[in-house]
């Protein structure tokens, strides 16, 4: 590609030139080598080109309306997608964004204090039993999200391994316990009782709660894939090639993994991908109340 072509390319591309998906569901094509002769002909068409252009214009002027059968198909497909979306994202739901998570990274010392005081993870591995018609369902369709785990959302498409790793490292990094050297009084205050991993100054956890029902369904799926719920660090809602997906990051000791699944994954479904993730230095694995 010539520099000239690069310069005149329209602004704000959100995909890439390899045809990968952009955040908004579109994707981009590939440029071709510059062809000055062809470009010049475009600007000053000869007789043949002008004739073809007129023919195309005339054909384009012929009105085409969406056929009724196609409109009906489209209506059904959009209604189904809308219903799925409404189920996944209840109206008014807000979630913590990765950008917000990044903005909190500077407060590690506060998290260190919280962890030094003892991390409480609620109900790791606990199974919420769905009741259908008053009877317990044979397969749990939800799995309670550990209180320490973050529920996030990103606009990124996770079709690329590097993107998955970056997302996972962000959340692992965010959960890393720093080297706590709290002031004596701070340490004493922190040691007075168990606190959540989320620092008191992170009210974003409140908004993340709205997405927890969806995350619970995802964790019921990943549990069947061998992911111990108590080891989950984060559940990030994203897209995989335009379709809703979730990235579950979990950690056991010095090993961490990101499991990418469809956002509507159900127990027994296959994962989209599994990616090993480097564990940042100084991190502790999450600890659940049941020791898992």
């Amino acid at each position: 590609m010539s520099e000239d072509e690069e310069r005149v390319d329209p602004p704000a591309p959100r995909g890439d030139r390899a045809g990968r998906a952009a955040e908004d569901g579109s994707h981009r094509g590939l440029d071709e080598p510059a062809d000055p002769v062809a470009e010049a002909l475009f600007d000053a068409p000869d007789h043949d080109q002008a004739r073809v252009r007129e023919l195309l214009r005339a054909e384009g002027a012929r009105p085409l309306t969406l056929p009724d059968d196609v409109a009906a198909r489209l209506h059904d497909a959009l209604a189904a997608a809308q219903a799925e979306r409404a189920e996944r994202e209840p109206a008014g739901a807000t979630v913590a964004s990765l950008a917000a998570a990044r903005g909190r990274r500077g407060r590690r010392w506060q998290r260190a204090l919280a962890v030094a005081a003892g991390v409480t993870v609620l109900a790791g591995g606990a199974v919420a039993v769905d009741r259908l018609g008053g009877e317990p369902a044979t397969t749990a369709l939800t799995e309670r999200v550990p209180a320490s785990a973050k529920v996030l959302e990103t606009g990124q498409d996770v079709a690329n391994v590097a993107v998955v790793r970056d997302l996972a490292e962000e959340t692992l990094d965010d959960a890393v316990v720093g080297e706590p050297e709290p002031a004596p009084d701070e340490g004493a205050a922190a040691a007075t009782g168990p606190r959540l991993l989320s620092a008191p100054e992170e009210p974003a956890a409140t908004s993340a709660e709205d997405q927890r029902p969806a995350a619970e369904r995802v964790l019921a799926c990943t549990r069947e894939l061998g992911v111990a719920t108590g080891s989950v660090v984060s559940v990030t809602f994203a897209a995989f090639r335009g379709d809703p997906a979730a990235v579950v990051v979990h950690r056991a000791g010095e090993e961490a993994e990101a499991v990418v699944v469809p956002a509507d994954c159900r127990p027994g479904d296959e994962p989209i991908s599994r990616v090993d993730v480097p564990v940042p230095d100084g991190g502790d694995a999450p600890t659940s109340s049941d020791g898992s």
């Binding site: 569901g25 094509g29 004739r51 195309l56 214009r57 054909e59 489209l74 209506h75 959009l78």
Partner: protein
């Protein structure tokens, strides 16, 4: 979700909100907003898809896939471009994706598409390209038939720029390529079409 068609003049009063406002409302949870966007642009998107794919079923699948994808990804639409540009981009990409997948399969002979319906690509018409200022129906049908023989990328560029008067810069954004690439594709496509039409003229003259 409201039906994909039926609003506007003569039907339900048109929604006064702009496309961008409707997309924002959809993201905020308005269940009817995206349907209104679709209602406004479905015919045009259909026409572009049909011209780009040259196949009614492929066009229907492409439009459906694209609009479902747009509905799901609407919260990631940042308004850097017009809603129509965004929708065209997704539809055209869906068409090109299908064309790439179809490339590994044998292409149906053009003649099989005759009589598929009024909205199907026209084929089989008598050859009668004229240099008149108002192209004859036959000439228009011939150019559509020839268009189906072009590479998909050239076809998409011609459909947008020459057939539907989309500005080159906007077409570049829709196609995700440089402006110069769009011009080159259009120019090469016109040349190829002219050659195809000339060849048919000669064949018709001999027959």
């Amino acid at each position: 979700m409201t039906p994909a068609r039926g609003g506007g003049p003569g039907g339900t009063p048109a929604d006064p909100r702009s496309d961008a406002e409707l997309v924002a409302a959809h993201v905020a949870g308005d269940p009817d907003a995206f349907g209104e966007v679709v209602r406004r642009h479905a015919d045009r998107l259909w026409a572009v898809a049909l011209r780009t794919t040259g196949d009614r079923e492929e066009a229907a699948d492409a439009v459906q896939d694209a609009l479902v994808s747009a509905l799901r990804a609407a919260d990631r639409f940042r308004g850097d471009s017009a809603v129509t540009t965004w929708l065209h981009r997704i539809v055209v990409n869906a068409c090109l994706d299908r064309a790439r997948r179809r490339a590994v399969r044998p292409t149906r002979p053009l003649e099989e598409e005759v009589g598929a319906g009024d909205d199907a690509p026209r084929t089989g018409a008598a050859l009668a390209v004229v240099a008149d200022a108002t192209p004859s129906v036959e000439a228009r049908l011939d150019v559509t038939r020839a268009l189906a023989r072009l590479p998909e990328a050239q076809r998409a560029a011609l459909v947008l720029v020459d057939m539907y008067d989309v500005p080159v810069a906007e077409a570049a954004e829709v196609l995700g390529v440089a402006v110069g690439t769009v011009k080159s594709r259009c120019s090469r496509g016109r040349t190829a079409l002219a050659e195809l039409l000339t060849a048919r003229e000669r064949a018709g003259g001999e027959g």
